[in-house]
């Protein structure tokens, strides 16, 4: 009934015309543009990716939904992200069946015994949709390993009802096939991340670490009005040690990892399809998270500084200056690989540079994501993700 009433409303509001218009614009956009500009990572990325990959034309409908009055939105079978809803732990470490999209996102900057730099990415996404009146879910995951000379990635997909992917507690486990992110009893930290592929793999032990709620106590706006938002928390100070295997060679490594968790329900506007995202460890005690969302010439900034003592400060958009440097083309699209980030109020003036320019994931939805080195006012490491149109 809910579906029928929603569809009826759409017809009543002559939304079909909007859909047709959108289909013309987004159809070509989705096929020619999005199909090449691929997935997402952190915060915003997954929402777009999930929306684009799995919901296809539903993207258009989501626009229609976004344009609907609140009574219609309320008819959606999935829960909406609203402010003032405190996050609950350990429950929020697990899957949120009432939300449409979700991910567990780990990036790590590592060094072996010879001081060589490595970057590691492990991401498990969950995407849901309503078919036949029932919420159904598919998991997919990306794993990547980079060094100064090599870069490997892999991608896995699994539906929830076949039982070879999922997230569970006691003990806490997020898995897809033989890729596993193991945690404690009810939380992902401390734990272990295992990825085994023919050409690469890693086994990393992760320490316990503090979780930081992004945005307003975990309510993370994706536009100025807050009509697009997600629940979002991070753990940027995870100690890591273990082994990485690349082209048959296994090395002992250690370093720092960063966990991001986010869940939402189709909050992103279809045209919000470009962003630059940074997760930078300025030093052992300070981490800077920054993203810039681009859409139709409009930009939405968010940045926060987290300290190892457990404090988080959200910075104003005017405080941060992001300058693009040299770019490189992948699959016909330019990605800016060199950046200058200035936050004068915090005496931050840094340059970021990839440890390997080729950290481009040619996954179903392709994007650039990789380890970077920081120089300037701070000498350190971090991760950067670049997606979509500039």
């Amino acid at each position: 009934m809910k579906s029928i009433s929603r569809l009826s409303w759409i017809y009543l509001c002559n939304i079909k015309k909007i859909k047709c218009l959108w289909k013309t614009v987004c159809g070509s956009f989705r096929l020619q543009y999005l199909a090449r500009a691929r997935s997402a990572t952190n915060a915003i990325s997954w929402v777009v990716m999930v929306t684009v990959v799995w919901f296809g034309d539903g993207l258009i409908e989501s626009v229609a939904v976004a344009a609907q009055p609140s009574s219609e939105v309320a008819a959606s079978p999935f829960s909406r992200v609203l402010p003032g809803q405190p996050l609950k732990f350990p429950e929020d470490h697990l899957l949120h069946p009432d939300f449409q999209s979700e991910w567990w996102y780990v990036t790590a900057n590592l060094q072996d015994e010879q001081g060589r730099d490595y970057g590691v990415q492990f991401t498990l996404f969950a995407a849901a949709d309503l078919t036949g009146g029932v919420k159904q879910r598919i998991f997919f995951a990306h794993a990547a390993l980079s060094s100064a000379t090599d870069f490997f990635f892999a991608e896995r997909y699994a539906r929830a009802d076949m039982g070879h992917a999922g997230v569970q507690a006691n003990p806490w486990l997020a898995f897809i096939d033989n890729w596993r992110m193991e945690g404690g009893a009810v939380a992902p930290l401390p734990g272990r991340i295992v990825v085994e592929e023919e050409s690469f793999g890693y086994q990393l032990m992760t320490s316990d670490a503090d979780y930081f709620l992004q945005g307003d106590e975990g309510f993370s706006k994706k536009n100025e009005s807050g009509s697009m938002a997600s629940y979002y928390y991070s753990a940027p100070f995870i100690e890591v040690n273990g082994t990485v295997t690349m082209a048959g060679e296994t090395r002992t490594v250690s370093g720092r990892a960063w966990l991001d968790r986010e869940w939402s329900t189709r909050v992103i506007r279809a045209e919000d399809l470009g962003w630059d995202w940074f997760a930078l460890r300025l030093n052992d005690q300070t981490a800077l998270m920054l993203y810039r969302l681009r859409s139709h010439g409009e930009q939405h900034f968010y940045s926060s500084i987290m300290s190892a003592n457990g404090t988080i400060e959200v910075l104003g958009a005017s405080e941060v200056m992001l300058e693009a440097g040299q770019s490189q083309s992948f699959e016909g699209r330019d990605y800016v690989l060199d950046w200058r980030i200035r936050i004068p109020s915090r005496n931050i003036d840094i340059h970021t540079r990839p440890i390997n320019d080729s950290q481009f994931l040619r996954t179903r939805i392709s994007y650039w994501e990789g380890a970077v080195k920081i120089s300037g006012s701070h000498e350190s490491v971090g991760y950067m993700e670049l997606f979509g149109a500039r």
């Binding site: 296809g56 539903g58 699994a158 070879h164 033989n178």
Partner: protein
């Protein structure tokens, strides 16, 4: 030089401007031959592509499969999950089975397509394009089809096509050919036993769904009543390192815990499972068997194509020879005008090239048409007979031009080389030489003796040898025709009393004069007729033995393939019923037989069971020895591969124990190429105590209604449609497949006969042109039109009957060789020759009638032309 050459060529070709009919016949002969041969090549090529494509289904190329063990229909889905968690990738869970519909059965194929999106450990470098996943283009095609189908079938407003395929209410696919076979339509939603199937999308054949309705695995499981069960797991990659892991998982599934692989197991041994396992890993034997089957079938197809080309060449040769006679004077005049032999030869070579080019163009178009028409039949044949899941697609016509030209060039040179060579070397002032009659009898005897020599020669029998013998006898038989005609018409000159019947005498006399031209056409006709008879005889022989074989092999009233949980209960119930004459457990297990992968089956001592095995030769003592464990029965494939016959010794490996035993008999096994043995059931179980079976064969008493009994059993134990099978349904299906299988062959064989008939028409027409003056003279002398036509018809009938006299035994001989050698060494089985005389006579009658009808037009023309004009 070039101008002279051009002028020469134009002058020589001007002959065809004046004699357009000759040009048409020449082109027709060549083009038809090229078309038929090309079409068989195109179909062969398409079949090979199709086979390759069949190995690359939506799930990628299948290299191995995990299948249920112990005769079970399915195994637990836990195996799949366990394999994934152990890092075995590129595996696709599959559920297959039949659902009963009002009009028969629908084959369902359910797969989980979501993991096909995976990409495994790809290196990424600048400038490297995105690598394909394991499913590569096949999955992309599927996804495109899915997007289109969702729009068409489900209408607007569907959010995610993949979600709609994977989750309820689902959407299912059927290839266009399969839909046609079952009358399925786009958007149709069938109701089967009160359950609705998903909406159906009809898609192109080349998507590789084959002969099944393709849907999501959960959908198929639900419809087939196999929740959380799989019928197979397909592997598109099998690394040697994976085999022990898979074996451990399969063993753990049986034992309830993980066991290590037995020490010392090499990869090949590891493929032979322990009997206690519920599932087995098998390398994809389709990949081994399919090419052999397909190649053998296509070899026969090409044989028919080659014969067509030969017949076409005869027609072209006839036309070229006729044009030679008419152009000789022209060539002499050209020589007198200063044209050299080399220049004339060059001009004639250009003419050959031109004809080859024209024949290739016309032949290619005709061949394409023929191939497209025959393709669905051939596709079905390959699917049903050779397990080829994919329906054929012809590809692009542009790829055929090269082959067409080469065939046409070869055919043109074969057909025209001799006449043109004779023309090129003609002397300017010499009188045209009377053409020497080739020593037909000598050539015929040579080929026949060569065939006989090959037949008796003590060399290893093979498919190629069979083809060579068949070819020798075909050619020898064809050359016997002119020898016989010559002898027959030559004899007429010895009968002085014939001179008393002027018209009859004239008929025989002209037949003798025209004999060479007629002979060529009659050779072609004899080949066509013999090919038709050979094909018909082989099909009839096979049909006769196949029906008997089906009756023997499927003599049970009911088969049950049960779940192990309800097997004992059902077995007990069946055995207690008075309606049941006998029931038995069917044991079958993969084993190594003389180093080859095969199967062993058990058979207990009961006359009803003995009936299911048809032995090549029967002996009373066989069953006595069999049940006293004195030996085993082997199938024809094993007998052929290992050169075994009754009395020979055979070494097997049963349950890791070597067993040396005697071959007691060889049984017919049509369609099976894998080696198989049957041994006494008690003996088998004593060698393999852990062997289990959940299959039950049931013989009902004669007065019992099998349908009613089956329905009662199904209701009582809630059996799924995959758990029971009526052999009669299998027989009906097998027989209908048989009929469809040989339909294409029959069509091709009939086509050769028609082409040969066309050759006779051409001959009659050219003969009419050549004899127009003499015919006119005869008319002037008072012979009426009807008598003229009757005389010509009589002449033609005698020639055709004489050709048929040779064609009939020739066809039977060739079918005998084909059955004994070609089929036997291609397929592994053979059967006795059964001659359907009424069928043979019918073919002869059809050929004769078609010939006479075809020749009627030129004969009528010959009899009706104004005599004054012809005599002028």
């Amino acid at each position: 030089m070039l101008n002279r050459l051009f002028l020469l060529w134009i002058t020589l070709m001007s002959h065809y401007r004046q004699h357009k009919t000759q040009a048409v016949f020449l082109l027709l002969g060549l083009a038809l031959g090229v078309a038929m041969f090309l079409s068989t090549l195109l179909i062969s090529s398409a079949a090979k592509d199709s086979f390759r494509q069949a190995q690359r289904t939506v799930g990628g190329e299948i290299v191995a499969e995990i299948k249920p063990a112990n005769g079970q229909a399915y195994f637990s889905e836990d195996v799949y999950r366990e394999l994934r968690s152990k890092g075995i990738k590129q595996i696709i869970p599959v559920v297959e089975g039949r659902v009963a519909t009002e009009s028969g059965f629908l084959q369902l194929l359910g797969m989980d397509v979501v993991p096909l999106l995976n990409q495994y450990g790809q290196p990424s470098r600048q400038g490297v394009s995105r690598p394909d996943g394991p499913a590569d283009n096949r999955f992309q095609q599927f996804e495109t089809a899915l997007n289109e189908a969702v729009d068409d079938v489900l209408g607007e407003g569907v959010d995610s096509p993949l979600f709609r395929f994977v989750f309820p209410p689902y959407i299912a696919f059927a290839s266009a050919s399969y839909a046609r076979m079952h009358g399925l339509t786009q958007g149709q939603q069938l109701t089967v036993a009160g359950v609705q199937l998903p909406k159906l999308a009809i898609v192109s054949d080349d998507l590789g769904f084959g002969y099944a309705v393709f849907c999501d695995i959960r959908c198929a499981q639900s419809l087939l009543g196999m929740e959380n069960q799989l019928t197979s797991i397909r592997l598109s990659q099998l690394r040697e390192d994976d085999i022990p892991i898979i074996q451990a998982v399969l063993q753990a599934d049986s034992d309830g815990g993980l066991n290590s692989v037995p020490p010392g197991s090499d990869s090949q041994q590891a493929l032979i499972a322990e009997s206690s396992q519920t599932a087995l890993l098998e390398r994809n034997d389709r990949s081994l068997r399919n090419p052999a089957f397909t190649d053998a079938f296509l070899l026969n197809l090409r044989g028919i194509g080659f014969l067509s080309l030969l017949v076409g060449c005869f027609i072209a040769f006839n036309a070229a020879s006729f044009s030679l006679n008419q152009r000789l004077k022209m060539v002499q005049r050209l020589r007198l005008s200063g044209a050299g032999v080399q220049e004339i030869t060059l001009a004639l070579l250009i003419e050959v090239l031109l004809w080859a080019l024209l024949a290739s163009i016309v032949g290619c178009l005709l061949g394409w048409l023929v191939s497209s028409t025959l393709l669905p039949m051939i596709g079905l044949t390959l699917n049903q007979l050779f397990y080829n899941d994919n329906i054929l697609g012809l590809g692009s016509i542009s790829g055929a031009w090269g082959s067409a030209f080469m065939i046409a060039l070869l055919a043109t040179i074969t057909a025209m080389a001799r006449p043109l060579w004779l023309m090129a070397k003609v002397k300017p002032l010499a009188r045209p030489e009377q053409q020497q009659v080739p020593p037909y009898l000598l050539i015929a005897s040579g080929f026949m003796l060569l065939g006989l020599f090959l037949w008796v020669m003590p060399v290893a029998r093979s498919q190629e040898l069979g083809l060579m013998i068949a070819a020798c006898w075909f050619v020898g038989g064809a050359f016997l025709v002119p020898a016989l005609l010559r002898a027959a018409f030559g004899c007429s000159s010895h009968f002085r009393w014939l001179k008393g019947f002027a018209v009859l005498h004239w008929t025989f006399a002209t037949a003798r004069i025209e004999q060479q031209r007629t002979s060529v056409a009659m050779m072609a006709y004899a080949i066509g007729l013999a090919a038709s008879i050979a094909v018909m005889t082989m099909v009839v022989s096979f049909e006769t033995v196949f029906v008997d074989y089906l009756d023997d092999a499927l003599s049970e009233s009911l088969y049950l393939r049960l779940d192990k949980d309800n097997f004992s209960q059902v077995e007990q119930h069946v055995n207690q019923q008075s309606a049941v004459a006998m029931s038995y457990r069917y044991y079958q297990q993969p084993i190594n037989i003389a180093g080859e992968r095969g199967t062993v089956s058990g058979m207990h001592n009961h006359p009803l069971r003995h009936r299911s095995v048809s032995l090549e030769s029967t002996a009373d003592k066989v069953w006595q020895d069999f049940h006293q464990h004195q030996g085993v029965l082997i199938n024809q494939a094993l007998a052929l591969n290992q050169q075994l016959s009754p009395g020979d010794t055979l070494t097997l490996e049963i349950n890791h124990t070597p067993v040396t035993t005697r071959v007691l008999g060889v049984y017919y096994s049509y369609g099976a190429l894998a080696p198989a043995i049957v041994m006494d059931q008690q003996w088998l179980l004593s060698l393999w105590p852990s062997l289990e079976s959940y299959r039950l064969g049931v013989f009902l008493n004669h007065q019992v209604d099998a349908d009613a009994y089956t329905q009662a059993l199904v209701s009582e134990f809630a059996l799924a449609s995959t758990e029971y099978l009526r052999p009669q349904q299998l027989k009906d299906l097998a027989y209908s497949i048989f009929q469809q299988t040989f339909y294409a062959t029959r069509v091709l064989a009939t086509t050769i006969l028609l082409i040969a008939t066309l050759g006779i028409f051409c001959t009659c027409y050219t003969s009419y042109l050549a004899r127009s003056r003499s015919n006119a003279l005869v008319r002037v002398l008072g012979v009426t039109r009807s008598r003229m036509i009757s005389a010509s018809l009589w002449q033609l009938s005698v020639s055709t009957l004489l050709a048929s006299l040779i064609a009939v035994p020739l066809g039977l001989l060739v079918s005998f060789v084909s059955i004994q050698l070609v089929l036997r060494y291609s397929f592994g089985w053979y059967f006795p020759l059964v001659v359907d005389w009424s069928g043979v006579l019918m073919i002869v009658f059809i050929g004769l009638t078609a010939t006479l009808i075809g020749s009627l037009l030129p004969l009528v023309m010959a009899g009706s032309k104004t005599t004054i004009k012809e005599l002028a």
